[in-house]
């Protein structure tokens, strides 16, 4: 079989279009910036019927041109996707092949966006996100990888070949190379790596690892940060001094040094991560317990019922998580599943690195909100401090926390990549993006493709998260 070109026959038409659209967008953007210097304020003219309209003028014209260029660019990109799905191998090339592989992701994205835009006025902050171009682009990128992780990891729909399978003769083959063996998927769309595995399949498999670990680790970092930040800010005094000192202590640690010290097989041997996990995973239980009790303390019966309902399953999961064979903690008979020591230690150290920053943010917000009158009102009716912290202060700090949550998932993704890059924690054959970059970098000057693919994937996910956070911040500040 012929090796595939990047864009195939479709590219003969679309490539020039893409080039023109990109160039147009770049030129109009530059013009728009220059125009904004020349004429600082657009004039508004008032029509006789009382309505007002933005005067066209130079800035208006450039603005419209810029918008059209953006539409043209998006249109061309959609054409690549549609063309890829519709045309055959040589017709659509590598890009087309990848687009076809992602078909379920595209369908889900279209459905999600259509539904969200349709109902955006009744969806609160999430709905408002669809008023911001930046936010929509960010959300689109994030959901692309989320869907990829789901369809790839759970339903096995996107893999072109087994991410761990080595095919002889495919070592370091360039993108679009036809497979030397028969059967299965006929091409390595993004080429083969040094061990002759499918780069594209590994990139897709890597997304599953990131999408599973990063949000969870961030969530735990938030639980820890919130549980400590609220009392530090609310009570102040000695407690605050001690907790802030500890937070600064961890922040003063260069992250990589910490990783090198924590994420080693020797540390796993000592059982230290298991103990840390025992403490760390207790945080959600304590959090939920305090949350429920502070709210329903005046109705003890209902409180106990709710506590039992919520905490029993959580406790079972907790015990199951912390118990593992061959670790110091192995006493619980009902051990449903084990988390490998390597993953556990990665998880623990990522939470450890993130929580001090969350602590500082929550503490700052608490210091601000606790001066409000509604907090004083709660105090004067004799509410317990934890009720005030969790039910009066926390809900009103949610805006900045949601924004930071998005940013922090991105940062966690970067941290996971860093770990992989240094070959720490995760098993050597793991397809996660950091490890793949690490393997690919050795032959970077000769065969860049095995490292470039995961690098771009990681870049786009983190960029998506950052844009999403930016969109959320903009929209939550409006009105």
């Amino acid at each position: 079989m012929e090796p595939l070109t990047w864009t195939g026959e479709l590219g003969d038409i679309l490539d020039p279009l893409l080039g023109i659209a990109t160039l147009a967008l770049a030129v109009t953007t530059v013009f728009a910036i220059l125009a904004s210097f020349v004429t600082p304020t657009p004039r508004i003219t008032v029509n006789p019927d009382g309505t007002a309209a933005m005067a066209e003028g130079l800035p208006g014209l450039v603005g419209r041109a810029q918008q059209n260029a953006l539409y043209a660019l998006i249109g061309t990109l959609v054409a690549y996707i549609v063309g890829g799905i519709a045309l055959g191998w040589q017709g659509a090339g590598i890009i087309g092949g990848m687009m076809r592989a992602f078909t379920p992701v595209w369908l889900s994205l279209v459905a999600l966006f259509a539904a969200s835009i349709w109902f955006k006025r009744s969806l609160g902050l999430y709905g408002k996100l669809f008023d911001s171009t930046i936010g929509m682009i960010g959300f689109g990128l994030v959901m692309f990888w989320v869907f990829t992780a789901i369809f790839g990891g759970v339903f096995d729909m996107i893999y072109t070949s087994d991410p761990l399978n080595q095919v002889s003769g495919m070592k370091n083959e360039p993108p679009g190379s036809p497979l030397t063996e028969d059967g299965g998927y006929p091409f390595y769309l993004l080429g083969g790596d040094t061990l002759a595995r499918d780069v594209f399949a590994r990139m897709v498999a890597g997304s599953t690892i990131v999408i599973v670990i990063a949000p969870f680790a961030t969530l735990f970092a938030f639980m820890v940060g919130i549980t400590l930040g609220l009392p530090a800010g609310y009570y102040g005094g000695k407690l605050d001094t001690v907790l802030s000192f500890l937070a600064n202590l961890i922040l003063a640690f260069p992250v990589i040094l910490l990783f090198y010290l924590l994420v080693t097989p020797e540390i796993v041997q000592t059982g230290l991560p298991a103990y840390m996990a025992m403490v760390l995973f207790l945080a959600p239980l304590v959090f939920m317990g305090v949350l429920i009790w502070s709210r329903y303390r005046t109705q003890p019966n209902r409180a106990w019922l709710l506590l039992a309902l919520v905490l029993t399953p959580m406790a079972l999961v907790y015990l199951s998580v912390i118990n593992a064979d061959d670790t110091p903690i192995d006493f619980w008979p009902l051990d449903f599943f084990n988390i490998p020591g390597g993953i556990l230690v990665v998880f623990v150290s990522v939470v450890f690195v993130n929580s001090p920053t969350v602590f500082r943010i929550v503490r700052g917000l608490t210091l601000d909100i606790k001066t409000r009158d509604y907090v004083a009102a709660a105090q004067t009716r004799g509410e317990t401090p934890w009720y005030i912290m969790l039910w009066e202060i926390l809900p009103n700090a949610r805006g900045p926390l949601i924004v930071d949550f998005c940013l922090r998932i991105g940062y966690t993704t970067i941290l996971l990549g860093t770990l992989g890059f240094f070959g720490l924690g995760l098993p050597p054959e793991s397809p996660d993006w950091g490890s793949t970059i690490n393997e690919g970098r050795k032959l970077l000057s000769i065969y860049p493709h095995p490292a470039i693919a995961p690098a771009l994937a990681l870049l786009s996910l983190v960029l998506g998260l950052n844009l999403l956070a930016d969109g959320l911040r903009e929209e939550s500040l409006r009105d």
Partner: protein
């Protein structure tokens, strides 16, 4: 350089001005068909409630409406030239040179990282091309003119090193540096204490005469406008509804809104039983939900369907130099008294429920917050406070910032414990019982209404939920249904529709939020309610309604109301007894009549004189206090008021500087002062109502 030095027409002519703000969804008209002119040397007041567009007019004059604001109609002429047609460079030349502006927040108006001197010198350097030395001399001169002590030191200081009053004087100095023809003052004293405000107002009046500057004075306070302006323009919902000479508008008003406004503010003639305040019904319309025709129509007593809501109402002549935007002003009987009220008289005060004796509260604070170093200082927030409050009595606690009224409230609520002395509630001493140690009934007995309506409710909880939570904590009822029923009754009590139970606080107006706050405070049938300036952040027309509501509930429940305020007008209107505080001390305590009549404590005397009263018949004695309120961190020795007291030299020796005066008793009227009986007897009443 100044333009047209020989121009002698009106300084500012605004003609049929309309300003709109543009949002993503719609155009929001902020000012419509607004006309006013300012003659040389004249001071024109612009009065209205928040959101009526008065500040927008000022920014329109400065041509500084931001990205979203546009002038969509009419002209603004300054010395005969249309400001809209000027280029950016010409505008820059006029700003700060010929038109200067003074704003509400003095601290925020000064650059925190630039020395005062540099900020002042910038003006002549920019506009008159002055050199450094000339500019410095000018700055020194102006700072002396605004009566700041030690001008050279002040020029070398950063803004944060000055007090609020001093900062505002600097802002005024900066505005006067280039001797502008027009000075715009946008609520210049709202952020300041009353006695400091009086000093600033005095200064502005004096300098206006000295420099011959025309002034556009923007304020929500009718009394302040009366004291400062020659003419006044009343605004409502983006429109001017009435304008004219000050005496004309105040005594011969020709617009129902102006009348309603005057009836809703506590003038000395108002009285809570005989002539109660009349609240304006309804709410201020949102800018995009204005009614057709007259904007005030839906809230107006004289509304006539078909005429008032038919077409936009024009401004009409209502006497010499007097205009009104009312189609019916000729038909209305303006002298008819407000409808007589049928309010039952307040029940006589009963047995004492709260007794405070010899109460003290000292705080220790670190001298330096950043470093935590230095020795800790003791702040004496409350000194030897003694008083009693009886059932269904209103006791007003009056004082300016730093007087210790909030600390007192905190101790009553149990948020702080006393350093010394006792608080007896019922027959139990609670001074050492923090709120955690108080039982539900004790907690629900003492409740509080807070000052800031935008802060008093948790923004992420429904209104009903917040009241129900209070009921839960106070152990009310046995089931959720019980509590829900009670919550709905409480909404009825504060005259809010029951649908409000499921609304979020952001959907409520300020007055409505304050009502929810009151409902929450009365949820557990409180015996004592501490109201911390409950209406001071509300608009004038809403204040009356909330005050009324509070008193009505108090009457029904025989509650003791501790009303904390700095506003003597409202205190005079609603309270039975008044306690005046200064720097942690109670300086005077007596019934309302006693406190408002001589003998006075010198501080009370100054406070009474400082409060602006919107009544042309009132004659006040001018007493302007020197300087600012000392910091509670560093109080003066002896009598707390001695640094500003005008009676001090009457006391022999250095008694005032060395000894805290004793509490003197004049038949139950207590005054903490060293003055002799003769001096007390020689005091004249501060406020007198001239015979009509």
């Amino acid at each position: 350089m100044k333009q047209n030095p020989d121009y002698d027409g009106p300084i500012l002519e605004i003609d049929r001005l309309s300003i709109s703000f543009f949002t993503r969804l719609r155009e929001i008209p902020a000012v419509m068909d607004f006309s006013v002119s300012v003659q040389p040397g004249e001071a024109v007041g612009l009065v209205g409630e928040s959101g009526c567009g008065k500040s927008t007019v000022a920014l329109g004059v400065m041509q500084d409406l931001g990205v979203n604001g546009r002038i969509v109609g009419g002209t603004i002429k300054f010395k005969g030239r249309d400001l809209a047609e000027m280029s950016q460079a010409e505008l820059r030349d006029i700003r700060g040179n010929e038109i200067a502006m003074i704003y509400q927040e003095p601290m925020a108006s000064l650059n925190p990282a630039m020395k005062i001197g540099k900020q002042l010198m910038e003006v002549p350097i920019l506009h008159d091309g002055a050199d450094e030395q000339a500019a410095y001399d000018m700055a020194l001169q102006t700072v002396t003119d605004v009566k700041l002590p030690d001008p050279a030191r002040i020029l070398d200081a950063y803004p944060h090193q000055l007090s609020g009053g001093q900062q505002q004087r600097i802002v005024i100095a900066m505005a006067l540096m280039s001797k502008p023809s027009l000075l715009i003052l946008d609520e210049p004293t709202t952020a300041l204490d009353v006695t400091v405000e009086a000093g600033i107002v005095e200064l502005v009046k004096e300098l206006g005469v000295k420099y011959g500057t025309s002034m556009l004075f923007i304020s929500h306070n009718l009394g302040l406008v009366l004291e400062t302006c020659d003419r006044v323009c009343v605004m409502y919902s983006g429109e001017a509804v009435e304008d004219g000479a000050i005496a004309e508008v105040f005594d011969r008003m020709r617009h129902p809104y102006t009348q309603a406004l005057f009836r809703s503010i506590p003038l000395p003639s108002a009285n809570k039983t005989a002539r109660p305040l009349v609240a304006i019904p309804g709410n201020f319309p949102l800018p995009h939900e204005r009614p057709p025709g007259c904007n005030f129509g839906p809230r107006c007593d004289y509304f006539e369907a078909g005429r008032c809501d038919a077409q936009p109402i024009p401004m009409r002549d209502a006497g010499p130099g007097h205009n009104s935007r009312c189609v019916r002003f000729e038909e209305i009987d303006w002298d008819a008294p407000p409808e007589a009220s049928d309010k039952p008289p307040a029940p006589a005060p009963g047995a004492p429920v709260l007794k405070v004796s010899n109460l003290k509260k000292y705080y220790e604070v670190a001298a330096n917050a950043l470093t935590g170093g230095g020795e800790a200082r003791v702040v004496k927030a409350n000194e030897t406070i003694d008083f009693e409050a009886r059932e269904s009595e209103t006791l007003a606690i009056v004082g300016e910032s730093g007087c210790g009224k909030s600390t007192l409230a905190k101790m009553l609520m149990g948020l702080e414990t006393a350093t010394d002395g006792t608080i007896t509630l019922g027959n139990e001493e609670i001074q050492d019982k923090p709120i955690e140690d108080r039982g539900p009934s004790q907690v629900s007995d003492v409740q509080m209404v807070f000052q800031n309506p935008f802060d008093t409710l948790n923004p992420s909880m429904t209104v009903g939920r917040q009241i129900t939570r209070a009921l839960e904590v106070f152990d009310y009822g046995n089931s959720d249904d019980d509590r829900r029923q009670r919550m709905l009754q409480l909404l009825d009590l504060v005259k809010l529709p029951r649908e409000f139970a499921d609304r979020m606080p952001r959907q409520l107006s300020g007055g409505q939020k304050q009502r929810v706050g009151i409902a929450r405070a009365f949820a557990g049938d409180a015996k004592i309610v501490v109201a911390d300036e409950p209406v001071s952040a509300l608009d004038v027309s809403v204040q009356a309604a909330v005050t009324d509501l509070l008193m009505e509930i108090q009457r029904e429940h025989k509650t003791t109301l501790l009303f904390i305020s700095h506003d003597l007008s409202i205190v005079r209107y609603l309270s039975d007894r008044i306690m005046v505080m200064y720097l942690g001390h109670v300086v005077e305590l007596g019934t309302t009549e006693e406190v408002f009549a001589p003998p006075y404590h010198p501080y009370t005397e100054a406070l009474l004189s400082a409060v602006p009263i919107a009544d042309t018949h009132v004659v006040k004695k001018q007493i302007v206090l020197e300087g600012d309120i000392p910091s509670a961190m560093n109080p003066p020795p002896g009598c707390p008021f001695q640094t500003r007291c005008r009676w001090k030299e009457k006391v022999p020796g250095a008694l005032c500087e060395t000894e805290v005066p004793p509490m003197r008793n004049f038949d139950g009227h207590q005054i903490k002062c060293h003055l002799s009986e003769e001096d007390f007897a020689s005091m004249e009443p501060v406020i007198q109502i001239a015979a009509e």
